[in-house]
């Protein structure tokens, strides 16, 4: 659906307190305005299938946030509550802006509209966001918490928001995760005795790599090699002079071992390499060496480091001889597509949680070395 945005903006508050009832009333007023200006055959439909709470720091660009969330809402009609917070700011303030954003289907002219509420909180109000956010959530719809950047698991804000969330979304490529940070994400699934699904858009970007590696073993004659893994090497893209997150590479190796059970003797290397066409932190190649009795084998999926980032070659060599070689598709999902998928359901992704557990162990081992 093409998005022809119509924004109905006309409301801001500044001050220490916000009356939630006022926000709802003003949202209704905005809807009436939207209906009043609409052509008869293009009446906007007020629709929501989920609540999305986005947490970001106060230096984030509000317009960019509107845009990002707006793109998501064109596929998942939602009420977005965007929190731009700075708890340590000297001047306490609470500033709310609301927008109704409409996406138009160019074929029918029909408009689907959804609401975005931006809450900018500085100082003391930033520590009490729960009271602002919870009453604004639409009842009976799933609640997603998207934490931009590194999650502050120990903060009061995080604590108050996660307890209301059905799904917690992070992007482990947006910071350099420590093993502890990754493990902590797993604990979120058991917050306050509730089940909260956890998802990482960096994991969704990895799916096509997982599929390419899995395809290496669609030939059942090769399954026995999985019992003799000696070494796994995963390369990931790093720009010169810039530190890249090894999270995606660790998740790939973690997924492999989580499917097969632990292989204590296998060595795992996560290696940053220059690959200008691959996004920073993205997997560039996977190589696995195995030994089973007298047979050795190498399984490899390797992207073209210089050329088209989506193109890769999958190769299998047994006892030094080529067994197969074929092109595979590893083009990562775009950020927008990855977030779309993350918002599709509230289910726990057990394979992700298992991969994450082992990825944390791998990173721990790397840190110790």
């Amino acid at each position: 659906m093409q998005v022809n945005e119509g924004t109905y903006e006309g409301l801001t508050w500044e001050g220490k307190y916000v009356e939630i009832a006022d926000i709802e009333r003003e949202l209704d007023r905005l809807w009436c305005e939207a209906l009043a200006v609409a052509e008869e055959h293009q009446m906007p439909v007020r629709s929501s299938v989920l609540n999305l709470v986005v947490h970001t720091s106060s230096d984030a660009d509000a317009e960019q946030l509107y845009e990002t969330v707006g793109r998501l809402s064109s596929r998942h009609p939602l009420r977005a509550i965007i929190l731009s917070v700075e708890p340590h700011h000297q001047e306490p303030s609470l500033h709310t802006t609301m927008r109704v954003r409409c996406s138009e289907d160019p074929n029918t002219g029909s408009k689907v509209c959804c609401e975005q509420v931006l809450v900018e909180a500085n100082g003391e109000p930033a520590k009490h966001l729960r009271g602002v956010v919870l009453p604004l959530l639409i009842p009976d719809l799933p609640r997603y918490l998207w934490w931009m950047g590194e999650p502050e698991y120990d903060s009061a804000t995080f604590e108050s928001l996660i307890t209301a969330a059905d799904k917690f979304i992070l992007d482990s490529n947006s910071f350099r995760p420590s093993p502890a940070t990754l493990r902590e994400a797993l604990h979120m699934s058991k917050v306050s005795g509730r089940v909260c699904a956890v998802n990482d858009v960096n994991w969704i970007r990895l799916w096509r790599w997982l599929e390419a590696v899995a395809q290496l073993f669609d030939d059942s004659a090769l399954h026995l090699h999985l019992a003799g893994i000696e070494r796994v090497r995963v390369e990931y893209a790093a720009r010169p002079g810039r530190e890249a997150s090894p999270a995606q590479a660790a998740l790939l190796a973690g997924w492999l071992f989580s499917r097969l059970g632990p292989k204590p003797s296998a060595s795992v290397e996560l290696v940053p390499v220059e690959a200008p066409r691959v996004f920073q932190g993205g997997v560039v190649s996977f190589e696995m060496q195995t030994r089973r009795a007298s047979e050795t084998a190498t399984f490899e999926v390797s992207a073209d480091k210089e050329g088209e980032a989506s193109a890769a070659v999958a190769r299998v060599r047994v006892n030094g001889e080529a067994r197969s070689e074929r092109p595979v598709m590893v083009a990562p999902r775009t950020d927008a597509e990855a977030f779309d998928i993350a918002l599709e359901d509230c289910q726990r992704d057990i394979s992700y949680e298992e991969a994450l557990e082992i990825a944390a162990q791998i990173l721990e081992r790397e840190t110790a070395q």
């Binding site: 659906m1 998005v3 439909v45 629709s47 299938v49 809402s73 064109s74 596929r75 998942h76 009609p77 996406s103 289907d105 029918t108 029909s110 689907v112 799916w207 096509r208 997982l210 599929e211 390419a212 590696v213 899995a214 395809q215 073993f217 669609d218 030939d219 059942s220 004659a221 399954h223 999985l226 997924w255 492999l256 499917r259 097969l260 989506s310 193109a311 197969s324 070689e325 074929r326 092109p327 595979v328 598709m329 083009a331 779309d340 992704d349 057990i350 394979s351 992700y352």
Partner: protein, 514 residues
């Protein structure tokens, strides 16, 4: 897919099932379907990353076209019919994968050339021996194409799995009666195994059709009332506002019963009435569908005029356009007895549906284009509100709209505002377009991808085809013994013949106005 179970890396993983590189050979590639549906579907799959790199597409047809001309025609098809805007940069990467092979369909040499071409793609492009043949020709060519593929050693029937797959997609109609459907199946099975054969009914690729099963089996509130105890009757409507629009030659040989009822309408009936399958996989789903078809009480002999109404449109105005009477269309006999409209009453003899009538209707040149399934529930056993208050009370109706404006509505009774009690019906409506901004893939995208992945859940199995034909053939045979109908018997732009209304009046019911 079998490999999903066997491969330890797939077990429990939420992977994006990506098809392996393959060569798609489309027989009859110069036809309308290729340009309007297939090539736009492949183009969109390519944009979404579901058409693996180096997969090749071969158009096999009789016209004297070159690769270049074939590409330019397909480019036009994408520009006109793709759901996404044409992107020259994407096309530049896509076009070189299109190839054209000119041959008569019965010429063995053409198939030798095809084999050479496929072997070359395997070597040069890494298509790994995987082939998908798509028969988009008139059905009369199916037997000879299948035979030649077998003779050229292209059936891939006994090839090891790791050497790639060979599958064949067949467009409907799968025969024109029970006998011909059996003959076609026998012919196919001489060359291909049943699991290699994908009989496509594009209706099953539509999101809203698939959603019928989700609505029934993923919502706890419906299944307990989805039976004879709570449902009064079911109406399935498939209406077109246009006439046959120049397809006289085709339509004279088929008619509405063969063209629509045997395939699309029975598919819809199946999804709304089948028992829950044990899993949403090919075998359990198709087993349940066949079971349901076998439970439909056959309509034979004297029952046909009582339960089936046929019609043919005359002139008129439908959806604001003048419609030429059917018998004045090109390639249509002025005394044609071909039906452009069918309505019927069916019963399903099983525990769930015993005694519940299913009313089906389909036709050309009707009031509007609409496809829907309406489930009408029984009225409460007693109105406690008195006759005046209940004057406007109507039964609950759950309507599943397949096209256009896909969605679901539920009609229920509420108290009209005011001091007294006055009951009025209101409609609670869910529209796909209003709740999901996402544009669903075209049916052919979904079905082509499923076939490349080896998932045949949404394709029709041979026993399903034959059972459906058996039901329809009974009616055709009865018609052949009856005096010629008095056609035309409905005006273009109306809701069909009066006899169709009487079919329901006799049961104290009436057709909906969808």
């Amino acid at each position: 897919m079998t490999i999903a179970v066997e491969n330890p890396l797939r077990a429990g993983s939420r992977l994006e099932n990506m098809p392996q590189p393959a060569t798609l050979v489309i027989f009859g590639a110069t036809g309308d379907l290729m340009k309007r549906k297939l090539v736009p579907a492949l183009y969109n799959l390519s944009i979404d990353g579901y058409l693996p790199p180096n997969s090749q597409i071969v158009g096999f047809a009789r016209r004297e076209w070159s690769d270049e001309y074939f590409r330019s025609e397909m480019c036009e098809g994408v520009q006109e019919h793709s759901r996404r805007p044409f992107d020259p940069a994407v096309w530049e990467g896509f076009a070189p994968r299109l190839h054209y092979l000119r041959s008569e369909f019965d010429n063995a040499e053409g198939y030798d050339q095809l084999r050479t071409m496929l072997d070359r793609f395997d070597k040069e492009n890494g298509t790994g021996g995987s082939r998908l043949f798509y028969l988009s020709t008139p059905p009369s060519y199916y037997p000879v194409i299948v035979e030649r593929l077998g003779e050229a050693g292209l059936s891939g029937r006994n090839i090891a799995k790791e050497s790639g797959y060979t599958r064949i997609i067949i467009e409907k109609p799968f025969g024109h009666d029970l006998e011909s459907a059996r003959a076609l199946n026998d012919h196919l099975h001489q060359v291909f195994a049943e699991e290699q054969i994908y009989r496509i009914d594009h209706y099953l690729g539509k999101e809203t059709v698939q959603n019928i099963l989700v609505l029934r089996f993923a919502n706890g509130i419906f299944e307990p009332i989805w039976n004879r105890h709570y449902i009064d009757h079911v109406q399935i409507t498939n209406a077109e506002s246009i006439g046959i629009e120049g397809r006289g030659r085709f339509y004279e040989e088929s008619g509405a019963l063969r063209d629509m009822v045997q395939s699309h309408i029975l598919q819809l009936l199946n999804l709304v009435a089948m028992e829950p399958p044990v899993a949403f996989d090919a075998t359990p789903v198709r087993d349940e569908k066949v079971k349901l078809l076998r439970s439909i009480r056959p309509i034979r002999g004297n029952l046909v005029p009582e339960q089936v109404v046929r019609g043919q449109y005359g002139g008129g105005v439908a959806a604001g356009k003048d419609v030429t009477p059917y018998h004045e269309e090109e390639n249509v006999s002025s005394e044609s007895t071909t039906e452009t409209y069918v309505a019927m009453k069916l019963f399903i003899d099983n525990f769930r549906w015993q005694g519940v009538p299913f009313y089906l209707r389909t036709g050309k040149a009707l009031t509007k284009r609409v496809t829907e399934i309406a489930i009408q529930f029984k009225q409460p056993p007693l109105s406690i509100f008195g006759s005046e208050a209940s004057r406007d009370m109507e039964p609950n109706v759950l309507a599943l709209r397949i096209q256009p404006d896909e969605g679901i509505s539920l009609k229920m009774q509420v108290k009209a505002p005011g001091t007294g009690i006055h009951i009025r019906p209101v409609k609670m409506e869910f529209r796909y377009g209003g709740s999901f901004g996402i544009e669903p893939p075209e049916a052919y995208e979904r079905l082509l991808l499923d076939c490349m992945l080896g998932d045949s859940t949404l394709f029709t199995r041979s026993d399903e085809v034959e059972t459906a034909w058996s039901l329809v053939t009974d009616i055709l045979q009865a018609w052949s013994k009856m005096p010629p109908p008095n056609f035309p018997n409905y005006e273009a732009g109306s809701w069909g013949p009066r006899d169709a209304d009487r079919l329901l009046y006799r049961d104290n019911r009436e057709w909906r106005w969808p």
